[in-house]
């Protein structure tokens, strides 16, 4: 057991910290993806290798070898300093790795650089109202008409669609093929006529997502990644590339510390809530779980560092357990506050800027999104525990 990253990495950590100390004031504060300040900051981060670190120099990246620890150190230091860690979004996190893996040289040259500089913002067109857990059942149709695909259908959960320049989109191009073999992966401009984006308000009261409608949207034939009918493989190609985001258990740790502070400050009938043994026991239970999840993540990280080790179950369970844990944690905060816990939006008694209620709901969304808990349990039991699949009750169509 060795929990240190070693002197080389501690050197890198101070380097990042030093950079942040002298440059943090240049970072944008909000989540504005469009502003000049965000682009300038992104440029600076790429130059230092603090974002787009492993993207080849020829496409505008920093061109470093993959190094999970450095990536983690960067994330930790930016999080600690509460400084914007550069542009995110599905273009950078999903499309760029996909193009690097499956795109043509032309596609790489055309799309990667503007994407990582923030000049080209993408949205993802995967899910449909009728294709959620069963994504491969998607029905948005692409019919070849001369040199153009003609697209009709509807996507949902297209976050950032309202500001996106382009979309990467799964469409059904061969309606008669088996369902996983009739899909193509297209790229097209969101300004193409026939596209309508409607904000999708969710239970938090915000429009974190959109619905996107296509009516006779015409897309040049060559704007396809991979071959016709190979879209499913293209979309899945990067599932192996784990997104290098800050470990969620660290966030849970931050949240539970905030909850402890809350319980020290809030009172009921004059008694501090931390002094209520029943709430405190719930707090301790959750703290124990957070601890277990933090150590679990260290183990996943360690397995990734030590090539050849498969993090296995410890990796598979993080989404299921991590989202439930956060939902419970935020729920406890609401409970200890009682009626004050119900405060929302412009309520002057709001605690934590309304984050307790918002995250309580948002994490219920995350329990569902990106593979519901039911799908997670299927994966854990089948891939993790080697249990038999449910028998097929009919031929895949």
């Amino acid at each position: 057991m060795d929990l240190s990253f070693g002197p080389e990495y501690e050197g890198f950590r101070s380097e990042v910290a030093t950079f942040l100390a002298s440059n943090a004031d240049k970072a944008p504060k909000g989540n504005d993806l469009r502003g000049q300040q965000a682009k300038d900051w992104q440029k600076l981060l790429i130059e230092h290798g603090y974002t787009c670190r492993t993207i080849p120099k020829e496409f505008g990246g920093y061109g470093a070898e993959p190094d999970i620890i450095k990536t983690r150190i960067i994330a930790e230091e930016f999080s600690k300093a509460r400084v914007n860690a550069g542009l995110g979004g599905q273009g950078i996190s999903m499309l760029v790795p996909t193009l690097l893996e499956m795109g043509t040289q032309e596609q790489k040259e055309q799309f990667i650089r503007p994407t990582i500089t923030g000049d080209m913002i993408w949205c993802q067109g995967y899910s449909e109202p009728g294709a959620g857990s069963d994504l491969a059942a998607l029905s948005t149709a692409a019919v070849l008409d001369g040199d153009e695909w003609v697209i009709n259908g509807q996507k949902i959960w297209t976050s950032t669609a309202q500001i996106a320049d382009w979309i990467f989109c799964l469409v059904r191009s061969e309606p008669d093929a088996p369902k996983h073999k009739g899909i193509s992966f297209l790229l097209f401009d969101m300004k193409t006529p026939g596209i309508e984006v409607r904000p999708l308000v969710d239970m938090t009261g915000h429009a974190n997502f959109n619905e996107t409608f296509f009516t006779d949207v015409r897309v040049p034939k060559h704007q396809i990644v991979g071959e016709r009918g190979q879209g499913w493989q293209v979309a899945n190609a990067i599932l192996g590339h784990e997104r290098e985001t800050l470990a969620p258990a660290n966030t849970a740790q931050t949240r539970i510390n905030a909850l402890i502070e809350l319980m020290k400050n809030e009172t009921a009938d004059g008694a501090r809530l931390i002094d209520n043994p029943v709430y405190r026991d719930r707090l301790m239970k959750i703290q124990g779980k957070v601890m277990a999840m933090r150590f679990n993540e260290l183990r996943v990280l360690s397995a990734r560092l030590n090539a050849g080790q498969d993090p296995g179950l410890s990796r598979m369970i993080t989404k299921l357990e991590g989202t439930e844990l956060r939902h419970d944690l935020e729920g406890l905060a609401i409970d200890v506050m009682g009626e004050i816990g119900l405060a929302y939006e412009d309520n002057p008694h709001l605690r934590g800027g309304g984050s307790w209620q918002r995250d309580y709901m948002y994490f219920l969304g995350l329990i569902i999104g990106g593979g519901t808990s039911q799908i997670q349990k299927n994966i854990i039991s089948e891939r993790g525990l080697g249990m038999p699949r449910e028998p097929k009750f009919e031929k895949a169509s």
């Binding site: 308000v201 409970d335 009682g338 969304g365």
Partner: protein, 355 residues
Amino acid sequence: MQFGLSEEQILLLDNVNRFLDDNSPLDRVRAYADGGDDADIWAGLTELGVPALLIPEAQGGIGLDPLDAAIVAESLGAHITPSPFLGTAVMAPTALVASGGKYDDLLAEIAAGTHRVGIAFSEAIKRRNDAQVEARDGRLFGKSLFAFDADADSYLVADQKQHLYLVAADDPGLTRTHLTTVDKTRRTVELTYDNAAAQSVSTDVRVFESVLDIGRVAIAADTMGAAQNMLDQAVEYAKQREQFNRPIGSFQAVKHMCAEMAAQLEPCRSMVWFAGHALAELPEEARVTACHTKAHLAEVAQFVAKTATEVHGGMGFTDLVGLHYWFKRCGANRQWLGAPEFVRQEAAVLQGLTD
């Protein structure tokens, strides 16, 4: 022996349900949530006699029982209806009737739907932070957090000693501030009292307790209705929604989620009915039962609200089906008139298990 609703009660339930089906559909609730009022709904419920329900016939009411009020509450919860029912038709009449004939005029106004009484009890149940209410010489000072509802004509206020006062909404000493909560189907306010004129309704703590008890049973019933409706929606959705070429309701995981909801929720209905019945008929059991019903419904509804949302998948998280209104109503009911941990503690105190 007949455990359940009488024919009259079933008729009452049907009438209220039918009215609310027509007049409190989701779109109507959304209109209220977006800033509209509930005047037409309350007028309609008044025509059905709802505000007169608990007022004795001798005082111009209908003279029904707490169980009848619980039945109406369940329907209101199922329809997540905006209305002043809890304060105006349940808690205030209980307090006002208990004080003899002194408030007959006011009761008549309540029964006629022309006067709405809000409730400001939080500080007498579990005072939060600096909020407190003090009465001196017929005047109130301090503040109440999260009083309901926002459009009341007067408020029934409980001070620290659990004495009850009535304050007119337009009293110059009263300031009313709207407090936004997650639950947009009802509105709460903060009341600040600066030398506000207050009529003493009761200094008998038992009156406060009986008002609290019936309020808790009514909230539990509201929760029951809301949770049952979420379960019904989930089952319906699971039957219709197809993934992998079959209704998701044919997947054992989804079926079992629904079965677990039903298994937990079904006994709650009997519990709510019994709790309503006990308020009128079984004084020795009434208070503990009210506490347990309030707390147990809160826990079950939390599970149901989450699980029903999960059954709906991403759709449950959106505003499109509006399921979140029920989710949040259950969430608000959980905290109103006592959070579960504190209410269970009260149940223990009432049984002499602790101080």
